[in-house]
Subunit: 177 residues, 2 copies
DNA sequence: AGATGACTGTATGACGTCATACAATATGAG
DNA sequence: CTCATATTGTATGACGTCATACAGTCATCT
């Protein structure tokens, strides 16, 4: 019955904020997965059900975008949920390429339980963190995302360029993807 | 000027902050991987080399802990780096169970280039984010990690427990700049 | 009409990581 | 010393995701 692994300070190999952020993300997934295990779901599956349950029948590609995973991956996720009778694929008469994924009654019922788990856990995570701090966090993360995307976009060029930088928003690097 | 947050509905399936955080973490990995591609390394490999290069020969289990991945996974990472002649496994006379992983000269040379990439990218990521904001971010993340760990620890028990009291006596909330 | 390109969902193989089980070794109690 | 327990690294199988290639379907432009 050891008290959880109490590693307080791992100064991870990399920088500080970045790796802390990644570790936190891992923990988020871990925590949600743990709580959702009672429903025999993981975070991705639960997110899908919650999304469809809230916004209605949705295209697979759109779901993939919203959940932040690839089109191929979302297919297998849906496959399993469909086997369990939680979602259904309906054809779209207006576009025969696509499926409209919708929740079944079972799925809708499960969605309410998911919502409960979500709200409960999010409440616990807010402990000791003020509203402004959460907003500040959100803002910094958004800004970071922006920086990251431009950093990714400006890769593939010569590695040692720029440096001086700042205010170079142009850089028309036409990358795929 | 910047059209950030134009997305009215980028509200991903889940909450807001949590999924933003996870998406940001994904982008961090992506950005580092992209920049490290020139060295034919991914973030994990680069972290390992950087760590060993800075702190000297290290046990595999310790490396796994520091890098935040499992003992099995670290083995395959080391295998590949060893094949490429970037690290070496030395036996430890004091404990014949363990290997001491150390960088070769090639690895050490590569480590300096890794350091460059790291510093460059981290610099770009700081754009438009003040020092206090970074510190605040770091603080909130740490606090979040704590909450997450207790949340994970208090799972598996009956789900509907707690909620009320925080009862987190320790938690030094002292520092805020 | 027909042709060309764009898009959706799927099949396939690959990668990185995890969980588990295991042999070799170390540590400590008797 | 001997034995039980813990720890290290590894082998194995599994999972989730990705990248690519592909067939079916739409959209558009002559």
């Amino acid at each position: 019955m050891s008290a959880l692994t109490n590693n307080e300070l791992d100064a991870p190999p990399w920088s500080r904020v970045e790796s802390t952020l990644m570790a936190t993300a891992r923990l988020i997934r871990e925590a949600f997965d743990a709580r959702l295990e009672a429903l025999d779901l993981n975070l991705t599956q639960a997110s899908l059900i919650a999304y469809v349950s809230e916004f209605g029948a949705t295209t697979q590609t759109r779901l993939a975008d919203r959940l932040g995973i690839g089109r191929a991956a979302i297919g297998t996720v849906i496959d399993r949920l469909e086997q369990r009778g939680l979602v259904e694929r309906h054809p779209n008469p207006d576009d025969r390429r696509v499926w409209l994924v919708d929740v079944t009654d079972d799925g809708r019922h499960l969605a309410t339980r998911i919502e409960l788990v979500d709200e409960q856990l999010r409440g616990e995570l807010r402990h000791g963190i003020g509203r402004e701090e959460r907003q500040a966090l959100s803002w910094v993360l958004t800004r970071l995302q922006h920086n990251l995307q431009t950093a990714i976009a400006t890769t593939s060029a010569t590695s040692t360029a720029s440096a001086g930088s700042s205010t170079d928003p142009s850089i028309p690097i036409s990358n795929r993807k």
